[in-house]
């Protein structure tokens, strides 16, 4: 897979899955916009890793729940590189996957849902609104939204998080339907539990072993496992696919 000359924006890519995606694109020659909100040194570390992997990268700080900051990110990217080929909406509102201490439905208020909807859906909505004029101009582009296999199989009912990710899939399908005629594809990648990431660090061995036992591939995803399907959906190898969700969970969910 060759991404030479391609400009890839990966939101929330200073750590975890986003960082793995950024590095994977860079290793195939891409120029990656490493977006982060807080940890500049981690983001700069990923930029260095991307360059060492053979690609190019810059770090841009932007809170994806802020329309203004996303506009600034897109403006700066277009100013530096004149185009954007791929957007990976990976950032989400911090969420701790701790099955033993999760909130039950009765304990959730609407703000919890709103927070997750803002983190997953509003941020993706805003990014798409902002970046689409540039993609439409070239009638090409691929948008990949990171969902979760919990949407299809709520192994642990993280209500607010999973509901927002479900909305993201519906959002993506509608956008795919509208943008198909313009040559712009929109797909989702839905990983299972990915370990280790900052978000999943609280997940106990017991839960991991339970998921492993039910997973045909008999292990839990690593951040690197998610990169292949993302790159596939970013590339021409999937040029006739849009509105799809690829489950990357070792076969836990089969759809």
């Amino acid at each position: 897979m060759n991404f030479d000359g391609k400009i890839i924006v990966v939101t929330g890519s200073s750590r975890g899955i986003g960082a793995a995606i950024a590095k994977a694109f860079a290793s195939e020659g891409a120029t990656v916009i490493v977006n982060y909100v807080q940890n500049a040194s981690a983001a700069n570390g990923i930029v260095t890793a991307c360059k060492e992997a053979g690609g190019d990268a810059i770090a841009i700080q932007a809170d994806v729940t802020s329309g203004e900051q996303i506009q600034a990110l897109v403006d700066q990217t277009l100013m530096d590189f004149a185009k954007i080929d791929v957007v990976v909406n990976n950032a989400f509102k911090p969420y701790t996957f701790d099955p033993d201490n999760r909130k039950q439905f009765a304990d959730l208020d609407w703000q919890d849902y709103q927070g997750q909807l803002d983190g997953a859906l509003f941020s993706t909505y805003t990014m798409c609104q902002t970046v689409l004029p540039a993609l439409k101009k070239r009638t090409q582009g691929s948008i990949i939204n990171i969902a979760s296999d919990l949407v299809a199989r709520p192994t642990i009912p993280y209500h607010d998080y999973t509901t927002a990710k479900s909305a993201l899939i519906g959002f993506s399908r509608n956008l795919a339907a509208e943008l198909g005629p313009l040559g712009i594809r929109v797909n989702c990648v839905a990983p299972g539990l990915v370990y280790p990431t900052d978000a999943s660090r609280q997940t106990k061995e017991r839960i991991k072993e339970m998921i492993i036992a039910q997973t045909p591939m008999r292990r839990i995803a690593s951040p690197e496992d998610v990169t292949g399907p993302v790159m596939f959906l970013a590339s021409d190898w999937s040029r006739f696919m849009t509105g799809q969700t690829l489950y990357v969970d070792g076969g836990l969910v089969m759809k």
């Binding site: 061995e205 492993i212 036992a213 591939m217 008999r218 292990r219 839990i220 690593s222």
Partner: protein
């Protein structure tokens, strides 16, 4: 970043010659300073530890001691504690083991040393634990009290992080003063534990020390051996022979040499529902600390006749090792270790040429190798570092006779099979020298109070002082109430 190993009560750091060991196995180079004592310093240290042991440690009850150890272990289990945090941070860099494996391994291991477990530990060796505190009536008549030595010299191996704690804690439980010599491979954990003990009970902290010398430094070793009342040593047979030869004849020397462990899978465990789970457990035992423990399996004997054939089972194990490589990647090997793995692979490949169904499986990364055979093969140690031999057998009952020639090297057997088979095999295996039988997935985590190599961890350390019945009876004659 430089860390200091060792723990030397009563000796100023400035008066010690420090050497720097550099580690570069965990992806980031790290220096550790280790103390090198003069012979005179070793002698002085020994004398002080002996005195502290006599004056203070021997005056404590076993309950006092277990409470202090429990408090130290609680801190090592607490992920917010600085000792725990530095263990999680530095042990992976020192040993090269995967950080997650170490984190989980430490918790699983340290749980064995909480107070209830320590009491179990003592009860395992002493019917009446109070015999460590005061004279107790003996079943045969008379009274007895168990005395720990004033000074135990521990010479530790560095194969698995934290392992020195077994013998150090055993020494404390029998109220012995302890000087432990850490291996260069992992000098930190015992040092931290000693410092923790000293923080919790400064007086108890004067009863133990952690020292270092370069393996093979005869003068240093001799200086300690001359002072010890008892020597506990871990290592290969050559090293142990030398230690034993240098130990004064009046000093007891307990040695723990390299062992070979293996697994046995009954056809009853090889149905389509259970086989994967069993393979998962077996692979975990292989992966944990990259087979560096005496209890780590090298070989699995798989019984034919189950729904899942031994060959398919070998494939299951191969896939599980591949999955574990994602979860707990194998550490970077030294040149010697890589050489051992390559030599083992080569020898297995040579054997496989002459055997139709033999197979060698290995991952793309080369981080694991499974060799499968249906031949009547002997028990040969694997190449370590996630290399395992899977041998198909007609029936598990044939295995004990095959392994009998290796009696001196046998230790743990992990068994997956039904109860009647477990107990029948236990009898056959015990007769040929196996000292521990566990479930798969537990081979590398012995339970609290286990008998290491079949010996008594605490009982072997003490001497009994007995007041015989005759003395009691005779004393009666001199009492002031004699009629």
């Amino acid at each position: 970043m430089e860390l200091k190993a060792g723990y030397l009560p009563g000796i100023k750091a400035d008066n010690v010659d420090w050497q720097t060991l550099t580690y570069d196995r965990g992806g980031q180079a790290i220096d550790v300073s280790v103390p090198l004592l003069s012979e005179e310093q070793m002698k002085d240290l020994s004398a002080r530890i002996k005195e502290a042991s006599q004056q203070y440690l021997k005056s404590l009850t076993v309950s006092d001691i277990t409470a202090t150890i429990d408090a130290a272990v609680a801190r090592l289990l607490d992920r917010k504690d600085t000792y725990r945090q530095q263990s999680e941070e530095y042990l992976p860099l020192i040993t090269g083991y995967d950080a997650e494996m170490i984190r989980l391994g430490l918790t699983g291991y340290l749980k064995n040393f909480r107070q209830p477990e320590l009491r179990r530990f003592i009860a395992e060796d002493f019917m009446n634990p109070k015999i460590l505190d005061e004279f107790q009536p003996l079943p045969k008549g008379g009274y007895g009290k168990a005395y720990g030595p004033d000074l135990i010299a521990h010479i530790w191996a560095g194969n698995v992080p934290g392992l020195p704690l077994w013998s150090l804690i055993s020494g404390l439980l029998v109220k012995a003063g302890n000087i432990g010599k850490v291996a260069s491979a992992e000098p930190l954990m015992a040092s931290w534990f000693a410092r923790l003990i000293a923080e919790i009970d400064p007086e108890l902290g004067k009863c133990l020390a952690v020292v270092w010398w370069k393996g093979g430094d005869v003068d240093q070793e001799q200086a300690l051996l001359n002072q010890a009342d008892l020597v506990v040593a871990y290592g290969n047979n050559d090293t142990l022979q030398q230690i034993r030869d240098r130990t004064p004849i009046t000093t007891r020397c307990l040695t723990y040499s390299h062992k070979v462990s293996f697994g046995m899978i009954s056809r009853a465990a090889l149905d389509t529902g259970k086989a994967w789970e069993v393979a998962h457990q077996a692979a975990y035992d292989i992966v944990r600390y990259d087979q560096q423990g005496c209890y780590s399996p090298h070989v699995f004997f798989i019984e034919q006749g189950g729904a899942v054939t031994p060959q398919e089972f070998a494939q299951f194990i191969a896939n599980e090792l591949d999955c574990f490589e994602e979860k707990f990647p194998r550490r970077a090997l030294t040149i010697e270790e890589a050489g051992d793995v390559a030599a083992w692979r080569q020898s297995e490949e040579m054997k496989s040429f002459s055997e139709g169904n033999a197979a060698i499986m290995s991952g793309a990364s080369g981080a694991w190798i499974v060799a499968y055979s249906e031949a009547e093969e002997d028990l040969v140690p694997s190449g370590l570092n996630r290399t395992a031999k899977i041998i198909a057998v007609n029936q598990l009952d044939d295995v004990p006779a095959r392994i009998a020639p290796y009696k001196a090297f046998l230790q743990t057997v992990g068994i997956a099979g039904p109860p009647e088979e477990l107990h029948r095999l236990a009898g056959l295996l015990g007769a040929v020298g196996v000292t521990r039988i566990s479930a798969l997935e537990h081979m590398t985590s012995p339970e609290a109070g286990w008998h290491h190599d079949g010996r008594f961890n605490l009982l072997d350390l003490v001497t009994m002082t007995e007041v015989e019945r005759s003395a009691e009876t005779a004393a009666e004659a001199y009492s002031n109430y004699v009629d």
